[in-house]
């Protein structure tokens, strides 16, 4: 058989965009935006950003208690298997078109501090972000692992590594750490172990759970979060194997629907089962589904609720009234040709107090702070609250400004 010729390799390592990759250079225009908009004058917190924890897997596994699982994760004979973390099918990098994916491994960093700290600081400084809430990437699908003990062991090891190697080292970084809700007893232990650690500002539920969020087994988790005054984040994720999404044939389709679908399911269960009435002090943040799903769901749920209040007897007000009291991360904000819809959305969710800027950097659909700062219908104070003030309140943060901003302030 003659193999077809394929001379085309448009995202090869030889392309200067990849070969000479450097985060600061890639984001030089973001830095210009930060200077032009005087971000030095106020605090910016990014409540949803990422690193690739699998790059540090051997380090993370050193924090794992179970020697057999640790050995499994570290073993050299791992050709043909994904290891301990399920791998997502898809093409976030658009076959290398988004150059920070193939370029990432080429970027050089000094021996100290930790590579993740250097890379994170580089993009934060370029964007004008002072503090960032850092989340893992492949582990967002860890809850789909068929062995619950693997999820728990990875979660604990990752949280320990994150606290010790990253959060202890850099006060500009914080996290809502991984909560293995599939195993409620272990989730409670994780809250006790990490709630007081430096840089821990909450706990994170990731997309695909084995039981619905309102399952009775979870109630002690929520009580414990309430006792500690710690918010619960719901980080959406897509899962192409989900039976509802598996008919979609393109990554764009599954990504566009999957994230919103994930939060729509959890939010609907959360509200219709009266969780805000059961745990009135537990604050929730809904992460990475954009914003358009929120007005949609508010309208759908309110309309049905008024006809069927007996289906949701714990509710004392309309679903949208509860949703308006929750917190939302901004990215990926729907920005194409829809200014009016966006303005209505901001009103419907009380964005001035409930919306928190997020970049999702370094993922392909990241948003810069200018996506908020340049909105013509927001006043200066509202912009600053969404970009940082609301996060400061929700996470009870002592704001740490970036060095370049402090220097720029001194220089006038």
């Amino acid at each position: 058989m003659t193999m077809p010729q394929n001379p085309l390799n448009y995202s090869s390592d030889a392309d200067p965009a990849i070969k000479e990759f450097d985060t600061t250079k890639l984001l030089k225009n973001a830095r210009k935006q930060a200077l032009e908009r005087n971000y030095k004058d106020f605090f910016i917190c990014d409540v949803d950003s990422h690193h690739y924890e699998t790059e540090a897997l051997p380090e993370i596994l050193q924090y794992m208690d179970d020697p057999v699982l640790r050995h499994l994760g570290l073993s050299a004979g791992n050709v043909g298997r994904a290891g301990l973390i399920p791998q997502a099918i898809g093409s976030q990098d658009m076959a290398g078109r988004v150059t920070r994916y193939p370029g990432r491994s080429k970027e050089t960093v000094p021996p100290t501090p930790h590579r993740d700290i250097t890379l994170t600081r580089r993009w934060m400084d370029a964007l004008g972000v002072d503090m960032a809430c850092l989340f893992p990437t492949p582990m967002l699908l860890l809850a789909t692992h068929p062995q619950p003990e693997v999820e728990v062991a990875m979660a604990r090891a990752y949280n320990r590594w994150l606290c010790e190697r990253i959060l202890e080292e850099d006060k500009r970084m914080c996290s809502m750490v991984y909560l293995p809700i599939n195993e409620p007893h272990e989730a409670e232990r994780i809250i006790d172990e990490f709630a007081e650690r430096k840089g821990v500002v909450g706990f994170l539920s990731t997309g695909y759970l084995k039981r619905p969020i309102h399952d009775n087994a979870n109630m002690r988790i929520f009580s414990k979060l309430e006792e500690h005054g710690m918010p619960l984040g719901f980080h959406a994720v897509y899962n192409w194997s989900d039976s509802s999404l598996s008919q979609l044939n393109k990554f764009i389709s599954v990504h566009a629907l999957g994230f919103a679908f994930c939060n729509i399911i959890h939010m609907t269960n959360w509200v219709m089962n009266g969780m805000p009435e059961r745990f009135p002090k537990l604050r929730t943040m809904w992460i990475e589904s954009g914003l358009a799903w929120i007005p949609f769901l508010m309208q759908r749920l309110d309309n049905e609720y008024m006809m069927r209040t007996s289906d949701a007897p714990l509710l004392k007000k309309k679903p949208s009234d509860y949703m308006r009291e929750m917190f939302y991360s901004s990215q990926p904000m729907e920005l194409v040709d829809n200014r009016e819809a966006l303005e209505v959305t901001f009103k419907m969710i009380n964005a001035e107090t409930q919306l928190l800027y997020s970049s999702d950097y370094p993922h392909w659909d990241m948003d810069l702070p200018s996506t908020i700062y340049d909105l013509p219908f927001l006043g200066e104070q509202a912009k600053r609250d969404i970009l940082g003030g609301n996060a400061q309140k929700l996470f009870n943060l002592a704001p740490t400004m970036s060095e370049w901003k402090l220097e720029a302030r001194k220089a006038g």
Binding site: Y10, D15, A17, R97, V98, D367, S370
Partner: protein, 121 residues
Amino acid sequence: MPEKLLCATADLSDTTAKIFEIEGVEIGVIRHNDTVVAYRNICPHQGGPVCEGLKMPRVCDELDEQKRSVRQSFDTTEMHFVCPWHGWEFKIETGEAIGDPKIRLSRYKVIERDAQIYVEV
């Protein structure tokens, strides 16, 4: 309009845009189909360095006579700048965004004279 000298014609490549800074504005210049084009190195989406991304051909869906999807292919007669920040694509020839041709890269007039490249600014 004043002309600015950028470089010698021979310095330009047809695979990678060369970036010049003129009065604080970056301009990406590339040889394309025997002409030279120049665009402001700012993406209309969120401001990324659009001329510094990959150069990729248009991706096409091929249908058969019954309109069944057969396969995808690259059309190398239509090359795009792909913005490295989020992947918006623009025709190198015209600067039009593929997703919405009303959105365009900001273009500069290029003059090739005596083996030198100038832009009007």
